[in-house]
């Protein structure tokens, strides 16, 4: 184990997999000579050369489309989105092509394609650069949507994505890039998809989250513990496939649930999870499932407004208390 950052964990996953399998290559805007806007790909061009580390034009549809053409022939392309906001330009390639070809071809080809990059609110990046897309991609069958919250998951799950046969939307969170954590050194230590994890046990309320919001939830849980409220915190880790069994088990114990997401409330992941809880363990609920979400507005630029638009620890604490009828 080494203590490394989320950024380094991603870098190592890419580098180790390129080392391991000559079919793995990476392409994106300014990932080679420029070494990447978040420096995830620093040093890769020198190590693996321009055939495997491809600087592309600013052309997201072109990047993803060509990667699909490569993946169908057995290469394992990784496409870096400078931010996932730009992937909307490639939505047709991702949703109409990558997610569908296996199905409409009757299973004749694999689609070992990874599209990765940061998303979510930053600091004063405003409306076009602050969005979260997990529920957008989570809506489409044919995709895998990963939302790692820790350096270890970032590395292990990215390896899963690269070694797999399916198109993976790998949603990193820029605010986590500097976060440190223990990460296995074993290049074959991988984390499978579709396995949620209880990261904190508690008997009073279940907090469900993922990615950066997991850390918000854990901080809220620590504060709540000071008030005698023991929250169980679950990290979903992948949004599609969504492993809700641990959530149901937890709700059977706590009878209350709070779902925390950064994105907008309408039609979001939290709504999907809340509905699933209601469908599956309705009779276990002693309170409505609470949702903590970003405000339903485009992200503003001014720092004070921006801070009002995103969820904070305090929101989670209040939601927990509502669920416990203690507000």
């Amino acid at each position: 184990m080494s203590e490394i950052t989320y950024r380094d964990a991603i870098h190592r996953a890419i580098s180790e997999e390129m080392e391991r399998d000559p079919n793995v290559l990476i392409m994106g805007e300014d990932i080679g000579v420029y070494e990447g806007t978040f420096r995830i790909t620093a040093g890769l061009l020198k190590k693996y050369g321009p055939k495997r580390v491809i600087d592309t034009p600013i052309a997201e549809a072109g990047m993803v489309g060509t990667a699909i053409g490569m993946a169908m022939l057995g290469l394992r392309p990784i496409v870096e989105m400078m931010t996932f906001n730009f992937a909307l330009v490639a939505a047709d390639q991702i949703l109409n092509h990558a997610a569908k070809i296996r199905y409409f071809s009757g299973g004749q080809v694999d689609m070992p394609l990874v599209i990765r990059g940061p998303q979510g609110a930053g600091v004063q990046l405003s409306a076009q650069h602050s969005q979260s897309f997990e529920s957008f991609y989570g809506h489409f069958p044919g995709l895998i949507v990963a939302t790692p919250a820790t350096p270890a998951d970032a590395k292990g799950m990215l390896k899963s994505a690269i070694r797999g046969k399916d198109p993976v939307i790998f949603l990193e969170n820029a605010a986590l890039y500097g976060m440190k954590g223990e990460v296995p050194d074993d290049p074959d230590a991988i984390e499978p998809f579709g396995v949620s994890r209880v990261v904190r046990e508690g008997a009073h309320v279940t907090i469900v989250s993922y990615s950066r919001m997991l850390h918000l939830s854990l901080a809220a849980a620590a504060k709540l513990a000071g008030e005698g409220i023991e929250a169980e915190v679950i990290d979903l880790r992948t949004i599609r496939p969504l492993d809700l069994d641990p959530v149901y088990q937890s709700v059977k114990k706590t009878h209350r649930a709070v779902v925390v997401q950064e994105q907008w409330k309408p039609f979001g992941a939290a709504g999907e999870i809340a509905a699933s809880i209601t469908e599956t363990v309705f009779d276990e609920l002693d309170a409505p499932v609470e949702r903590v979400t970003g405000e339903d507005v485009p992200m503003p630029y001014a720092r004070n407004l921006e801070l009002l638009a995103v969820p904070h620890e305090e929101h989670v604490i209040r939601a927990v208390k509502r669920a416990l009828y203690r507000d």
């Binding site: 009779d283 609920l285 002693d286 309170a287 009828y325």
Partner: protein
């Protein structure tokens, strides 16, 4: 303001006679002072004032029969007009059992104190009771009747802890509601349950009703979207958790004013059109159905009705209802909405000429101006005594009733 009521002196006593008034209206009385003499089958006794004040609102003159619980007079400020004059219900009083001294003749029926009622029964008794899914599951497992539990959650929602701490007294027969699994069901035993006096009366009266009374039925489907919204506003503004049924009580009372043939009773010689509107509200109790009466419901606000209904219903469940609290209705409302019943027909409560059966308010898709929209709808079925109420008369009444329900601001005027 205190009230002097006809006290119930024995189990079978339903009414007493006012023998003489020792004081007259406007006289000053002091606590403990004899105010009047009453006579029951077994005993004559003086009723004393429970507090100092001026005697007023003498409702029964010397010689008159008064049902148990009826307010005979008030003690308090002189200018308050007592409107609560019970209708003369033709009840034959059977012989009273051993006489019991009147312990309290004043204050006992002061149910208009909003705060007291709120504290005692925080959630609506009629209409849908809020409860969490877990609370319902535990209640089913424990055999606890949710109707008897006060909810501590938002809006009076019954939550798991309320059920878990529920008194043993709130248990109903576990076998009847244990829903966990087939294996967990206890063996049922065959029992012969002797008819209680109450069950006997229910049986007799309902059979009397459906037998000689030529019933017919009219159903309307009402848009209660605005009513539902109004109810939420009323709750927010007043803090009184009025149920939809409380609004329905007021709506029917107001409608009855315009349709005297519906607020009527059939007699062998004549039809009586009642001058006052007293609406009976059917309440399910563990022992059976009771219909406490909201007297002069047309003169009471929704909030007053709500408070009164709740207090009476609680009394009904506790078997503390006095006869004048369940007798003398001129019209009755039965609501099974809280059981999820969408539509049903009720049997007329004689000597009423009609009864309204109120179903659950449910969200339904309806077509409005070519668009499918979601509205709260509620079905209401009116059972009519055809000897008094003809089809057109019933339909007219329902039309008025619909106006009140669908344009509920009229209820607040």
């Amino acid at each position: 303001m205190g009230e002097i009521i006809m006290p119930k002196m024995g189990d079978a006593m339903t009414e007493g006679r006012v023998v003489r008034w020792h004081k007259k209206s406007g006289d000053k009385v002091t606590k403990g002072e004899a105010v009047l003499e009453i006579e029951t089958d077994k005993v004559n006794l003086d009723l004393e004032a429970e507090e100092d004040g001026l005697l007023d609102n003498i409702a029964f003159e010397a010689g008159a029969m008064a049902p148990v619980g009826a307010v005979l007079a008030t003690v308090g400020l002189p200018h308050v007009k007592q409107a609560d004059k019970p209708a003369a219900a033709a009840v034959t009083a059977p012989a009273a059992a051993a006489p019991v001294p009147a312990k309290k003749a004043s204050g006992e029926f002061n149910v208009h104190d909003k705060k007291t009622a709120e504290q005692e029964i925080p959630s609506a008794i009629v209409g849908r009771r809020r409860s969490s899914p877990l609370a319902r599951k535990i209640a089913a497992q424990k055999g606890v009747d949710l109707a008897l539990i006060a909810g501590s959650g938002p809006g009076g929602r019954i939550v798991a802890s309320d059920v878990e701490s529920a008194r043993a007294g709130s248990r109903v027969t576990p076998s009847s509601s244990s829903l966990t699994s087939v294996a967990a069901l206890p063996v049922l035993e065959t029992k012969v349950v002797p008819l209680s006096a109450m069950r006997r009366t229910i049986a007799k009266r309902l059979a009397e009703s459906i037998g000689p009374i030529p019933h017919f039925f009219l159903t309307v489907d009402l848009d209660v979207t605005k009513l539902v919204q109004l109810r939420e506003q009323v709750i927010e503004i007043t803090g009184v958790k009025a149920s939809l049924n409380d609004f329905v009580v007021r709506a029917s009372a107001l409608a009855l004013r315009s349709h005297p043939l519906v607020n009527a009773s059939f007699g062998e010689e004549a039809i009586t059109l009642h001058g006052e509107v007293h609406v009976g509200v059917a309440v399910a109790t563990p022992e059976g159905l009771l219909t406490p009466v909201i007297r002069n419901a047309d003169r009471k606000s929704v909030v007053e009705i709500a408070t009164e209904v709740r207090a009476l219903a609680e009394k009904a469940r506790a078997r503390k209802l006095m006869p004048d609290e369940y007798q003398g209705s001129s019209f009755t409302i039965s609501n099974l909405g809280m059981y999820g019943i969408e539509e049903f027909t009720a049997i007329i409560n004689p000597p009423n000429a009609a009864i309204l059966a109120i179903g659950a308010a449910m969200q339904k898709p309806v077509v409005e101006a070519g668009q499918v929209v979601v509205r709260d709808r509620m079905k209401v079925t009116m059972s009519c005594d055809h000897r008094v109420v003809d089809g057109a008369v019933g339909a007219d009444f329902l039309r008025t009733f619909r106006q009140y329900v669908e344009q509920p601001l009229r209820l607040m005027i």
